[in-house]
Amino acid sequence: MSEVARVLEAFSEAYGCGAVLWTQSHPDEPLDVLATSGGEVTPPAIATLRDEHGPASRDTALGRQLVSRVPGRTRAWLGVGPVADDDADARRWITVLVPVLSQMLQSQWEARRAADELAERYEEINLLYSISEILGRTVTLEDAARTILMEVAETVGAEYGALLVHDAGPGLLRPVTTLRVDPKATPLPIPTDDPISVTARVFRTRHALLVNGGVLESEYEAAFRSGAMLTVPIVWTTPDGGIPLGVVSLSGRRGGAVFTAGDEKLVAAVGSQIGTAIQNARLVRASIDQERLASEMRLAHDLQLRLLPSGQAVAPEALCAARVEAADGVGGDFYNLFRLGGGRTGVLVGDVSGHGYRAALIMALVMSAAAIHAQTTADPAETVQALLATVEEELRETEMFLSLCYAVIDRDAGSIRWTNTGHPHAFVIDADGVVTRLAATDPPLGLGPEGLHVQARAWAPSDLLVIFTDGVSDARDARGQSLGEARVLEVLRARRKEVPSRIVDGVFALVEGHMGRLRPHDDQAVVVLRSR
């Protein structure tokens, strides 16, 4: 039994007559019995109902009945009867009962309203939760866009809509997904500067807009608009305010009802979530690309190192050690070693200007070409000329150049001959520690005029050939000070009688000690060779 029914029962017991409470959902609808403790329950005719005056009297099969309006938000009437002809007492009883019932109905109305509100909010919270879940488990917006749009449209009762994302290059809002008025119609990309399109306007202003049917109709939105349209921006919120990323538009509300401020707030909240998801997806994609690039760079670096020969390549005529440290994963410094027959040994050290993929490509071309041409002639200039022919076009197209020193040591003849195209750090150090630079014979390849030159000098079995690149002498410390060629030569002179591998280790120990924890800004290569 309801609270109202208990009150009516108590009233009947106290005053000895029945009571009935009718309610009406709409002024034109018939009355329904909400509760009764006896008396006539058939409701009075609607036309006889009075709103504000005192109780009206009517005759029923069970006797006379007084009918009184119960004030409040719920449309309700109280019937008390049967009553005596002198109904003064009954009218007094009604004045006591009506306020009590009014209060109870008001409480019930508020409870019902709160329940409805809660149900409505629950739907919205559920929508936001669902969207969070969808966005949380997808990497690309495209995967989730349709589900999100359908869920939002369902919640606000829209039949049509579109989710558009900004394409900054051409300045367009591209439809990612649409709920179309005509399934055969193709939604068009919308220029962000279009003066009529509501979608473009919302993107520009970053403010939601609700327009009625017939207002600002644009051909760009025809595919997903019917009548009034609610459009909200998709914004990635940042400390500086936010960056617009796209737009959500909804239209064609079922039953012709208008969109409310509540709908706008809800769709704006969804737009904010989508904005964060788009940005996250972009960051994830960038991170994946970065990782892929880093992985390819590591692979290229490994391949490049595999192209470089071991010092054993010139045994038994010579004892050699070499090392290359690339600055950017793949670099432009390289060396190659050749046994040329007749006791001759070829040593090539090169530095392609710049580093990265292009430098590595030129390096690979020179390495492979050198392996062929070095065996065809003992003349260093001829070999280098052949190398230039191989990479000339590549150097011209990339505006790079190549400094290299190619030296041929003839142990038996006691001579060293070299062609040096702009490589500054090539030396012979004799047993007494006297350092002689193998001076450049020509400008770097790719810069100079045609025609290469050769120089020669004596070579003693105790002589040491040392060639390093400018990444070694230009290595910077934390204050930006470069190591300098003189300090490298000091180490080389001091260690000149050690085996080449220890000499190379000594140079790199000097470089690393100078740089500390800094990464090299340029490739570093060192080659040390002694005849046997």
């Binding site: 200007s353 505006e399 150049f401 400094s403 702009g422 500054p424 450049a440 014979t441 400008p443 770097p444």
Partner: protein
Amino acid sequence: MSLQVTKHGDIVVIDVDGQLIVGNRQELKQRVLDEAEGGARRILIDFAKTAYIDSSGLGVLVSLAKRLRELGGDLRLANLNDDLQTLFELTKLDSLFQIADTRERALESF
């Protein structure tokens, strides 16, 4: 690095203040090409305030010298410090440029 451009008759003088390296070489290149586009054919780059030029900076200088020669012009250098002078000599780049030890001599040499 900053660049200052002045004119001495029909000679355009570009003063370079700071290092010429991979990160800013394009700035110098574009400036020289802009001047050439505007009709300049005799250009002097003054390195009095430049302590260091890396290999990419050298590449740009050679590329610009070639370009100006193709246009019937000439690019000359002045005021290289001792280290840079040595670098140009060691790399034989001094054979590609006319290099003067003062600005005045460079201007007179055109």
